[in-house]
Amino acid sequence: MSETNGTILSVRDLKTYFQTEDGIVKAVDGISFELAKGETLGIVGESGSGKSVANLSVMRLIPEPPGKIVDGEIMFHDIDVRALSIDEVRKIRGKRIAMIFQDPMTSLNPFLRISTQLMEVTRLHLGHSKAEAYAHGVNMLQMVGIPDPESRMNGYPHELSGGMRQRVMIAMALSCDPELLIADEPTTALDVTIQAQILELIKDLKSRLGTSVILITHDLGVVAGMTDKIIVMYAGKVFEQAPTAELFATPANPYTKGLLKSVPDPVHEEGTELYQIPGLPPDVAHLPPGCPFAPRCARAEDICHREFPPFVQINANHHSLCHFAKEVYAESVQEDLQNV
């Protein structure tokens, strides 16, 4: 595929709020990121951090009401996604931006044959005839590594295992050769061996087809080997943004450090108890005035409880939302040097 590094998706200051009985929930509150062609972006965060909502917003799939994109800019190439009519958005969905979901057991329609579901996409977007769509579907199943695709084509979802269904979902998502694939926790519902296979498949297809990928997960282990850069989200905000290697080596945010410490390390920590960040993710409807992470943060000081932290630039590609970003970064650099 071509080597051009043009930006295909740029999100600026996106705010998606939900109107609930409990008040306004700022599920996504001013996040920005960019994605270049062929690049893989990891979005990491705990449940409720807004990572899924951010991506549903990109595809304009937020249920409205109660949800609403209140502010910000979503540019897909030079298309302003927020300004599109629903019909225009539909032409992008599935064709140029595709999505796969967390639970493959429920994301296929149990009443329709695999063929019906695979053919629907290409007939809709590529104008395939029945025969063309069928042949294309068989090819796609072959491509995602489903054995005996001809007979699987006529089967029903309940005849496939979870991993196979996720492969079918990937086949469906990629059948119109989209420029961007959003994978929303694609392996969370699968067991570990299948997880690795599915991730390998996504990686392989991505490099073959030159698709850009946004990988949403709560598992840092998943993004480590897959992504070029990572966004860490907490309470609807971007807490840290950095190239993958740099984020793992020298995090500049206490929250990221906490997340990294919570990943089990079988070599170094045998016998010790696994670290976990104290407390629970905050209620996004009632955030404290200062830093949303302050109540759980070990190094929080007075200012953290009083003032919202700045988005500090560490270097060209590395940003961190923390009053002490530079200090945390310096510590990480020290630790990294000691480890090496």
């Binding site: 599935g94 296929l108 329709l112 996409v121 089967g155 309940h158 005849e159």
Partner: protein, 320 residues
């Protein structure tokens, strides 16, 4: 890749349901009776005319005062008060009764499923508004609506398209046949309310499932999501409810014909035959017994089949 030519079709949920249905003896009995009944009313009148020359409206020329005879070899179900062969009339009436049951149910199915699915999927204010309309229609006795429809638009005042339909498919464009076709629609129009509620409830529980989101994410339009992705998933309860709607519609038709505002002579339905029979019950009991038993048997079978289908399609709700 040389011998295996037939690609596996996959076991659908339907095949499992069919197996469960076949294990239910009452449901199988109901199915057999219904199949026989349909065959009988479909070809029976032609056979009778061919063998004996009797038809449902053939009045034998006779000067006898009493024209109604008890069952005999010539007339297995006897004759009615004008001397017409009762078997021919019961079979002909069965055509109309079964057609009313079937066509009215289809009409109610079309309205109820699309209305309920649309309301359930769109949700919010639209759903609220649509379901309040259903509540309002519910609160009016349905038989009243049918009576008003039949008496205002019945007979010669009927719609052009109903006359056209009755000419095209009923074989005659006269007032009697138009009345029967009007009956199909009138009963269908009042029978969709529960269907709409059933489907709406199903769609409400289905629409938050991931496969709907996945379909939206691939750019499928709202009508396609409703009718291609959601409606097939509601078919189980819909089929069950439809099989139970058929007998209730047939009963309503019988009731209306009994009152004299349903099927008009010379056409007969089981309901109108029963109405005629009741008048002469003390003297000519066979005039009530035969159409009554035939109709009861059919309704029983439909209910057995409906219950069996419910058990087969929705095994979780099965009660022992």
């Amino acid at each position: 890749m040389t011998e295996n030519t037939e690609p596996a079709r996959g076991t659908s949920l339907w095949r499992d349901a069919w197996k469960r249905l076949l294990k239910n003896k009452l449901a199988v009995f109901g199915m057999i009776v219904l199949v026989l009944m349909v065959i009988a009313v479909a070809i029976g009148p032609a056979i009778i005319r061919w063998t004996t020359g009797f038809t449902y409206d053939f009045i034998p020329p006779t000067s006898d005062l009493v024209k109604s005879f008890p069952p005999s070899l010539e007339h297995p179900m006897g004759t009615d008060e004008q001397g017409r062969d009762l078997l021919a009339r019961v079979l002909q009436g069965g055509r109309i009764s079964l057609a009313v049951g079937l066509i009215s149910t289809i009409v109610s199915l079309l309205i109820g499923v699309s209305y309920g699915a649309t309301a359930g999927y769109l949700g919010g204010k639209i759903d609220n508004f649509m379901m309040r309309i259903v509540d309002i229609i519910y609160s009016i006795p349905y038989i009243l609506i049918v009576i008003v429809l039949l008496s205002v638009f019945g007979g010669p005042n009927t719609f052009g398209w109903i006359t056209w339909l009755s000419e095209k498919f009923g074989g005659a464009g006269n007032a009697g046949m138009s009345q029967i076709f009007l009956l199909f629609f009138a009963l269908g129009i009042v029978s969709w309310l529960t269907m709409a509620r059933v489907v709406r409830g199903q769609v409400l529980s289905l629409k938050n499932q991931d496969f709907v989101m996945a379909a939206r994410a691939t750019g499928v339009s709202t009508p396609a999501i409703i009718f291609r992705h959601l409606v097939p998933n509601t078919l189980g309860p819909v089929i069950v409810y439809a099989t139970l709607t058929v007998p209730s519609v047939m009963l309503s038709e019988a009731f209306l014909s009994f009152l004299g505002i349903g099927v008009q002579p010379p056409y007969a339905s089981w309901g109108s035959l029963c109405a005629d029979g009741v008048k002469n019950l003390a003297i000519f009991p066979w005039q009530l017994i035969f159409p009554g038993v035939t109709m009861a048997l059919t309704l029983f079978s439909l209910n057995f089949l409906g219950d069996g289908l419910r058990d087969a399609l929705d095994p979780q709700t099965r009660k022992f």
